[in-house]
Symmetry: C4
Subunit: 205 residues, 4 copies
């Protein structure tokens, strides 16, 4: 019951945030040159949209897989979940800022990409904290065996490492950093879940 | 359980996207001529709103009907669903761009309608992919008999054919292409579902 | 099952539409006069916000009460529901236009209020159509006795009469028309539901 | 059943409102100075975002905890819930206005913070009214013992006292008032719930 509303609220926030990403796509007004040229000039917006869409989508999938195993909901979990959502909600802003400056060819392209990486890092750290909380005694239906915890932890916290790298690379080349963030999202799409979570996912209604 | 959140998240994203369509309706400020004339000049916005609203509404109905039959949820389905939502979320942007250029009388009216058709085509192709996935052994509660698969496939993938036609017609006449997209939405509203899906829909809670 | 998603999708669309109302509240930038004066000058926006918020809120309550009784979901109901949502989604646009022109002192104040009335009338007519559909044999858990149908119908379709009056009065005085729409929302808040719907509402989970 | 939709609709509205907060974060366009300086100048927006995010988040947690105990849903509750949501939906507007004027160094910084406090006060009063309603005979699964009602009431209505203080302090120093609102949100995050609500929260699905 309690968990159902945690899921419903998180689903709602994540669904709105992922949809607001598209608000930042520019609609060129007539009279500012050919539409074809303008759409082409706006490629950073479309690339940034795709990367952020899958980054949010994957955090939803992972949130979904982990929370489905949880059997108790306490204040700590609610708070960690709120912090996770705080960063998710910042993604459309960080995406739009980054896309605007991506090809500006100035120092600002590095800074805006670094801000984007910080927001994604905040999201990854919050998720890792939720994952660690869930490892506590009796908090999930299926316990991760001790000898598999290292691997499960690595997978859950991979984002924190990758987004730190995205942050560092942002100061060298913003487009390369964006590509790395995109590759990370794709990795999570295709990477198999630990065995017990897969079972959960395929259990059906 | 797992499926419930897939449905809830999809419902959320589709609900936000369908509502954001109305954000693109222009509110003429006082002092730019009579309101009546201005509302009249903005007919492409209202026509585009109606067509996109029902196009998204119908994809929701079809998504709903198909997912209600599904009994397993795997990573592939989650990924296909994310791609479907990626295109749904692009519809408000594509609608606004198309409506802005629809009566511009230039080459841009053709291009903006073609972009709109591409987004709808992406949505239709993703849905077709989800439908094909669902035909796999043991993935749905009710299996489509082999001798009815052709017809079921045709219906599920009709959009992919129609939106290709919308794309082609866009380069001849953007308003005619818009009308075709509108007729397609109306067709799906009234077209009967395959027998087993109707049963499902009327089964009640 | 099917009905659960109809409710979830409708809840989502109505929730987004009611929240988008606040996007139309103007934030005066510094340097355009005192904030106090500006907030005062924007009273039509706040009045329009309150009236539209409760108008949407009430349609949600009524939708909720009626759909909770429904036991079959067919294509006709899905279509009627989509049309209802189409008008609900237009309310933020109609509200913003009406609020912008309400005190313009020109012919446009009448027209913009009339447009607002048309959107509310569309919403009321769609709801009445859904109500009529639900009276069909075997479509609801509790049947309205024949001798109470007149009263139930009157209540469900009262909005259609009132919003027609709002439309007419719009051409005499837009603020009076807005007040009538507000009073109607308050009436629905406090008016008792027909007996069987009240039972339903208090049945609890 | 009825309660499920009350929760779903409230979750939807609160989720959209909390996400719209980020729409007010400014994206500086290239050519208006260095991005780093601009982001620094916009610190009131980020501080206001964080305070409002947790204020809404906490009202969601408290709403969640209280409604989970409720066993009857009547018109009064629906109305009180709508009023609560009306104030929640105003928060993004009040936040943006307050952030815009926070460092304006004029009388307007006081007024805009006072408006923000009024909106939060409206939210707190509505929640207190819902709480009082829920104390009525037979309305909740677990009754608060008479000798604990004082404490439970105090906790539920603490916000009404604090936001009155925020209102008063707004006329002395807007940033101090904002800090107090932020501390209040943090208090609710960590303050333990009355015993029976904690049990409820940890009951699991």
């Amino acid at each position: 019951m309690s968990k159902a509303r945690l899921e419903a609220f998180s689903d709602g926030v994540i669904a709105v945030a992922i949809t607001l990403l598209a608000l930042d796509l520019t609609i060129p007004e007539p009279g500012h040159g050919e539409l074809f040229t303008q759409l082409g000039n706006h490629w950073p917006q479309f690339a940034a949209y795709a990367v952020s869409f899958f980054s949010i989508g994957i955090i939803w999938v992972n949130h979904h897989a982990r929370v489905s195993l949880i059997v108790v909901v306490d204040r700590t979990l609610l708070f960690l979940n709120l912090v996770l959502l705080l960063f998710v909600v910042l993604i459309p802003f960080a995406t739009a800022t980054m896309a605007t400056y991506l090809t500006s060819g100035s120092e600002d392209s590095h800074l805006s990409m670094a801000v984007y990486a910080v927001v994604l890092e905040g999201m990854a750290l919050s998720f890792t904290a939720m994952f660690e909380w869930s490892l506590g005694e009796g908090r999930t239906r299926v316990t991760v065996p001790l000898n598999q915890r290292g691997r499960a932890r690595l997978r859950a916290s991979l984002g924190t490492v990758v987004y730190a790298a995205v942050f560092a690379i942002a100061f060298i080349s913003a487009p390369v950093a964006l590509a790395l963030a995109g590759i990370t999202a794709l990795y999570y799409v295709f990477a198999p879940l630990p065995h017990n979570e897969v079972e959960e996912l395929t259990a059906g209604p």
